[in-house]
């Protein structure tokens, strides 16, 4: 007889110990980031009988054949995809909220209305010095508000570019780490616990990377991963043991573009895509604000230079500079406002040129233009907020789904503890039986 009861029982006790270790490891790592629940895979050890002794019992017990990692590749890739979407949405939304705050909280709209109101108040008495000074003061307030809005937009863009650059730097770190992991995974023994730990790290890094950009992954038979970027993952990022370097380039209008190892790619998800999209919005809003400021200044200056001041001299331009960031109020004295039409008497209260100024502002649509710009930006923010809510919910349900499948359930582990403890005790009992049998045999006199 080739079987050895003591050896079988000992192998059972060993296997149960191993399973208990795995259970304890699961419990210990219940809250670890990226930890995937392990299961000890058990296998019967037996041998066929030797030649001519086919009928013999040949049982050799049990052994732990490997540590199984309960990761579902599909759920993991779903988590990566939805994370990239939600992080793109979050970055874009944050950028747009900054754009909205820049235009809204700088108070451009109410300053434009204030300028119009001061001109309208001046119609009551066009030569009143106090009211004229008020017009100049509100013109200065308006140009200041335009400057502030442009400055806030610039710093919003600055912040977005900073975030994107930080993302690029972080992605380079992750890429290098993944390349190193690829090499180590190839060397780790199949089904070893070392390998499981490396795969955990690999998946954790891939998850972090998809926060930064949408990645496409393909896994080699040895568990190493190839990471591609851009449309269809066509641009290589991590291949085997090498990682390409990501770089970011800033255009003159403040928008950004990305390259991996010298090859241009356009991310469609993650922090990079969100920041790039938001920067396009920043540039667009700044352009619209510039147009509004320029057309307002041009329309007003045309009327102003066409009239004469109460002192009888021709009007000088009220606004100078170009763009929302550069516009300034050139006149400081209310007496320089050309409220009277050319040819009017000195000190005339003829306000027809003042009426033309108000008309120019009204028909130029400065106030309504700013209102529309604010409406555009805020409705984009509102739309993105809804989208972001949905993307967040999708991403969170994907990660919960993965967590449910791959995470540790303490109740299950508690049950396993009892189960393997009992298995261990039972194997011990089997050893006791073997010992009793031997004692019986040895006791034969």
């Amino acid at each position: 007889m080739a079987s050895d009861l003591l050896a079988i029982a000992a192998s059972g006790a060993r296997a149960a110990r191993g399973a208990l270790d795995v259970t304890a490891q699961n419990i210990a790592n219940a809250a670890s980031d990226g930890y995937v629940r392990r299961t000890a895979r058990m296998e019967e050890v037996s041998a066929a009988g030797g030649q001519m002794r086919m009928g013999d019992l040949s049982l050799s017990g049990v052994r732990i054949s490997g540590i199984q990692r309960n990761a579902d590749m599909f759920r993991q890739s779903e988590v990566r995809r939805t994370t990239a979407d939600s992080s793109r949405g979050a970055a874009e939304l944050a950028g747009l909220q900054n754009v909205q705050a820049a235009v809204e909280q700088s108070g451009v709209y109410s300053a434009v209305v204030g300028f119009e109101a001061s001109l309208q108040a001046l119609t009551a008495d066009p030569v009143d010095p106090a009211m004229r000074a008020e017009v100049i003061a509100s013109a200065q307030a308006m140009t200041n508000k335009f400057n502030i809005a442009a400055g806030s937009l610039d710093s919003a863009g600055e912040g977005l570019r900073f975030n994107a650059q930080a993302g690029v730097d972080q992605a380079n770190v992750y890429g290098g780490e993944l390349a190193r992991l690829n090499l180590r995974i190839g060397r780790a023994g199949a089904d070893s616990s070392d390998r499981a730990t490396l795969l955990d790290q690999r998946d954790l890094l891939l998850g972090k990377l998809s926060d930064i950009a949408d990645i496409s992954t393909s896994f080699g038979p040895d568990g190493s991963v190839r990471v591609g970027l851009g449309a269809g993952g066509a641009t290589d990022f991590v291949t085997g043991g090498t990682a390409a370097t990501l770089t970011m380039a800033t255009a003159t209008d403040g928008t950004v573009s990305f390259q991996a190892g010298g090859n241009a790619f356009t991310p469609s998800g993650g922090l990079l895509a969100g920041s790039a999209n938001a920067l396009v919005e920043v540039a667009g809003t700044l352009g619209q604000l510039d147009t509004l400021a320029d057309s307002m200044a041009a329309a007003f200056n045309t009327v102003q230079t066409g009239g004469i001041t109460p002192a009888g001299s021709p009007g000088q331009p009220l606004f100078s500079g170009s763009g929302a960031g550069g516009i300034t109020t050139a006149l400081t004295d209310g007496a320089m406002l050309a409220t009277a039409p050319a040819g009017a008497a000195i000190g005339s209260r003829d306000a027809s040129n003042l009426a033309a100024m108000r008309q120019a502002l009204e028909s130029g649509g400065t106030a309504s233009g700013v209102n529309r710009l604010l409406f555009d930006v805020s409705s984009k923010v509102a739309g993105r907020e809804v989208t972001q809510g949905a993307l967040d919910a999708i991403a969170s349900s994907a990660s919960v789904a993965l967590e449910e499948q791959a995470g540790v359930d303490l109740d299950t582990e508690a049950a396993n503890l009892i189960r393997f403890q009992q298995a261990f005790q039972a194997s011990g009992r089997a050893m006791q039986v073997a010992s009793t049998i031997f004692d019986t045999l040895l006791g034969i006199k």
Binding site: A124, A345, R349, L374, E404, A406, L410, L417
Partner: protein
């Protein structure tokens, strides 16, 4: 079998309670500020409407100021025209006295002296300034409306007067230019009050061979002048009425704007409070159930 991992349980619970707390905070903010809109993106359409309403209200405030100043000018004009009318009536009395054949020339000369005084008063009244220091009857001119050179009074102002905007595209003329109040035609020739009074004073003080006849002639002209001045007063009164009408309209508009602002951008306190209460109940319930479920571990039962 659906296995719910411990991590997933905690993540889900914290997310749900975080959501509830965020909603409760938003409601609390609405109740605290009384505004439904904190940022434009809370409701872009309503926010754009609110901005337009804010502009309407601000412009209406300016219209109100302008209308008040126009009203003041018109009241000053009305008072001045009333004084002129009194003055003409007095001049007529004096002319009637002077026309009496029983008076001698020296008595007429003293009447002429008083008429001369009236003529001077008329010039002072015609040069009245408004609150901003501009000639009330001078149109757009910078200085006095009338000036006296070599015994003749001439008009220095402009014939046009700037209108004042009352909002809604409506305007009003905040006064009257001199010629509209003081110039008229007698027979076929055009004249003005200054010429009539000045002429009468000169005639009574020995400038005419038959002062009594001159006085009789002047009475007709004075009647025409009184007509002109009272007509001007009526016009001024009508303009003040127009301003009052526009003020009423503006008040109504402002009420409507305020109502719309409240309904567009104001928080419905009752609804928000109810909603907040509901939110708090749900939050408390989910906190309680979370604590209960979290304590429900098999490890507690293993002894």
């Amino acid at each position: 079998m659906i296995s719910l991992s411990t991590g997933a349980f905690y993540e889900r619970a914290s997310r749900q309670m975080g959501d509830l707390r965020a909603q409760a905070t938003t409601l609390q903010q609405q109740i605290g500020t009384g505004k439904r809109l904190d940022r434009s993106s809370d409701d872009p359409v309503a926010a754009a409407r609110m901005r337009t309403l804010e502009r309407t209200q601000r412009m209406a405030g300016i219209d109100q100021q302008n209308s008040a100043s126009a009203n003041t000018d018109l009241q000053l004009t009305d008072t001045a025209l009333g004084s002129v009318a009194d003055l003409i009536v007095r001049a007529k009395e004096l002319a009637t006295q002077a026309a009496n054949g029983t008076l001698n020339n020296s008595q007429r000369a003293s009447i002429g002296l008083e008429v001369q005084g009236l003529a001077d008063n008329l010039l002072a009244i015609a040069n009245t300034r408004n609150g901003a220091g501009h000639a009330l009857f001078g149109g757009q001119a910078a200085g006095d409306a009338y000036s006296k050179t070599g015994g003749t009074v001439g008009y220095d102002g402009t014939t046009a007067l700037d209108t004042i905007d009352l909002g809604d595209g409506q305007t009003v003329l905040p006064g009257m230019v001199g010629p509209d109040a003081f110039s008229f035609t007698v027979g076929a020739s055009s004249t003005d009050l200054f010429a009539v009074l000045g002429g009468l004073a000169t005639a009574l003080q020995g400038g005419a061979s038959d002062p009594a006849q001159s006085a009789r002639d002047a009475m007709g002209a004075l009647d025409a002048g009184l007509d002109k001045v009272t007509t001007a007063q009526t016009v001024v009164g009508a303009r003040m009425g127009w301003i009052e009408l526009m003020d009423d309209r503006r008040t109504q508009m402002s009420e409507m704007v305020t109502t719309e602002q409240a309904s567009t951008g104001g928080a419905d306190i009752a609804a928000s409070m109810t909603r907040l209460q509901e939110m708090m109940t749900v939050l408390q319930a989910s906190q309680a159930s979370f604590v209960k479920l979290a304590n429900l571990s098999l490890f507690n039962e293993i002894r």
